[in-house]
């Protein structure tokens, strides 16, 4: 990448936010697809929109690109309101899930098509093409047609087409979901590296929570057209705003265990009933919203890594309890153990060399310092 290109990208914006979405609504007829969306990112941010299919994340991206119009609200890119601005004038570039390469054009023509349409001089086109081709290591493919490329190569060409535009904002619409698992991980790293070297501002849509965690500087979790939570990957992972986010992010997903919390003087106890064994009672050292005294039924959210081997050296404040082991799943680097608490399957993450046998009883260490507590009815986080 030339210095000129780098400088263009590093130019400070007049407004602090490179992208600001305010009170955005989108309906198709009477169906509300997006409800009151508010998002803002700063230059250099990598925003990932994540959620299950049909949550409206791709629609939101299309609204940002100007490929769909919003019903209400405003989108600003680089401080400029985008109402009535066509996609080509928004200073964006987009990478699509199906790559959307022009099938009859060579790779080179694909990458320069946009510049040709905008009337960029031939020499300038060639210069930028060479630059991007070198950056993405596709210089030997420039005369091929898209049909003669592998999936990963097509993906690179699609990115090249976006990079050559040198825009204020990159939009990625599930760019990796058509690749096989191995290539996906490779390209993920590649995208992250590109983001770091270019310092580009990116909005990235995916339904893969691992992609979201690994790539993002900021994550927006969506469901049914509503933002469930926006925050850093760390916030999303460790302090999920509700049970949906807790369940959606992380693999294996967070254990959501029905339990009851009780205030005993200054101390808070959480107890989990079990059908065939005595209750597990655990100390909880934070305040639970709405629990001043007495008892309250709650959902205890515990990540698998917070239920470990009782012999684990690293656990200092784990509280030990015996549980029956239902299933043992060795995964190489860890061993996952499934047990039953309050009638629910609960996964624990143990050391790879843990000696544990299905059907027997073993003692586990519960670390509640990173646990979440949810209101059973609303699913909202209360501690």
């Amino acid at each position: 990448m030339s210095n000129a290109m780098k400088k263009e990208m590093a130019t400070p914006q007049t407004a602090k936010n490179i992208l600001a979405i305010e009170n955005l609504d989108k309906s198709f007829g009477s169906v509300k697809i997006l409800k009151d969306i508010n998002v803002a990112i700063e230059p250099g941010d990598f925003l990932v929109l994540v959620g299950p299919s049909g949550c409206g994340k791709s629609t939101l991206l299309n609204c940002i690109a100007g490929l769909e119009s919003s019903t209400n609200g405003d989108i600003r890119i680089g401080g400029r309101s985008m109402t009535g601005v066509s996609p080509k004038d928004r200073d964006i570039a987009m990478v699509f899930q199906s790559y959307a390469l022009y099938p009859t054009m060579t790779v080179g023509k694909n990458i320069t098509f946009g510049m040709k349409v905008r009337g960029v001089a031939e020499q300038e086109q060639q210069r930028k093409l060479d630059e991007v081709a070198k950056l993405l290591q596709i210089d030997h493919l420039l005369n091929r047609k898209p049909s003669q490329l592998s999936g990963g190569q097509r993906q690179r060409v699609a990115m090249g087409r976006a990079l050559v535009r040198d825009p204020q904002l990159f939009l990625f619409d599930e760019p990796l979901s058509n690749l096989d698992a191995k290539l996906r991980v490779e390209m993920r790293t590649e995208i992250k590296r590109l983001h770091q070297t270019l310092g580009a501002s990116i909005v990235y849509v995916t339904h893969d929570q691992i992609e979201a965690m690994t790539l993002a500087t900021k994550i927006v979790v969506m469901k049914d057209g509503v933002i469930q939570q926006a925050g850093t990957p760390n916030e999303i992972y460790n302090q999920p705003a509700n049970m949906f986010v807790a369940d959606f992010m992380g693999s294996p997903s967070m254990n959501l265990i029905p339990a009851s919390a009780e205030k005993q003087g200054d101390a808070t106890k959480i107890s989990i009933t079990r059908p065939d064994m005595e209750d597990i009672v655990l100390d909880f050292d934070r305040e639970i919203e709405g629990l001043k005294s007495g008892k309250k039924s709650v959902i205890l959210g515990l990540r698998p890594e917070n239920i470990t081997d009782s012999t684990n050296q690293h656990i200092t404040k784990g509280q030990i309890a015996d549980c029956r082991v239902d299933v043992v799943e060795p995964a190489g680097s860890d061993t996952f153990v499934v047990t039953n608490l309050a009638g629910k399957q609960v996964t624990a993450r143990l050391n790879a060399d843990a000696t544990i046998i299905a059907g027997e009883t073993a003692s586990f260490a519960f670390d509640l310092s990173k646990a979440s507590v949810f209101e059973p009815e609303t699913g909202a986080r209360i501690a």
């Binding site: 987009m94 199906s98 959307a100 022009y102 009859t104 054009m105 098509f113 349409v117 049909s147």
Partner: protein
Amino acid sequence: MTDHSMNDHQLDERANRNRLMKRIALRLGLYTLLILFALYYLMPLFVMVVTSLKSLDEIRTGSLLSLPREIDFSSWGKAWSGACTGIQCNGLQPYFWNSVLLSIPAVAISTLLGAINGYVLAQWRFKGSNILFALMLFGCFIPFQVVLLPMAITLGALKIAGTIPGLMLVHIVYGIGFTTLFFRNFYVTIPQELVKAAKVDGAGFFRIFFSIFLPVSPPIIVVTVIWQFTQIWNDFLFGVSFSQAGTQPITVALNNIVNATTGVKEYNVDMAAAIIAALPTLLVYVVAGKYFIRGLTAGSVKG
């Protein structure tokens, strides 16, 4: 033990042989049947060609299926430039050129319009576009006879009744339904993201059509051209209804040659004329036939 297994082995072999024989017999039966049908199907063409090469005398004396004793091309010459259609005796030649003049622009225009229509209906959906498409489809199934009268009035109002452009208009209007259907169904298989990508790149409606969609269209263009050419070249009803002496297409002229002969019926000339009238469509199929099949299946198998 060994005896037993030997027996088993022999039994197996016999069963295998039986199965093989059965398969060969089935194949044989199938091919015989197919060849018979092919012969049956080719018979009329054979009779036409053979008859067109015989002299009138030979036709009168010989059998229908016998090969000509002496090959005689004079009937072809007469059909082309000497046969009488009513009072004029110029053969098929002028009408052949009428048909060419009519078909080529009509095919080209209706194909282009169909391509643009299909592009809009598949990739630039708007409110009511599906209803519009359904109505256009409906247009494909309206029988010719229904539109004759309104069409005649329209042509009269446009003052192009009885002219080749008038007939051209009729064929274009009637063809748009089919050509739109072909192109729409072809373009529907192209991901909509392609249009989105081109929009982000800054291309407009026609730019996207000419730079991206038209270049991928040859298979469906071939299908549409064959279909339209066959329809327009072979059409008789519109031709006979909306033309007058001098602007008639070849199908109408052929009918006149066959019907207007006075005195001796010149079967050889009639046959030669019929073959001449059918040759262009045959030629189109031979030249573009393999693309036709490819185009028809292009949508079903994603490349």
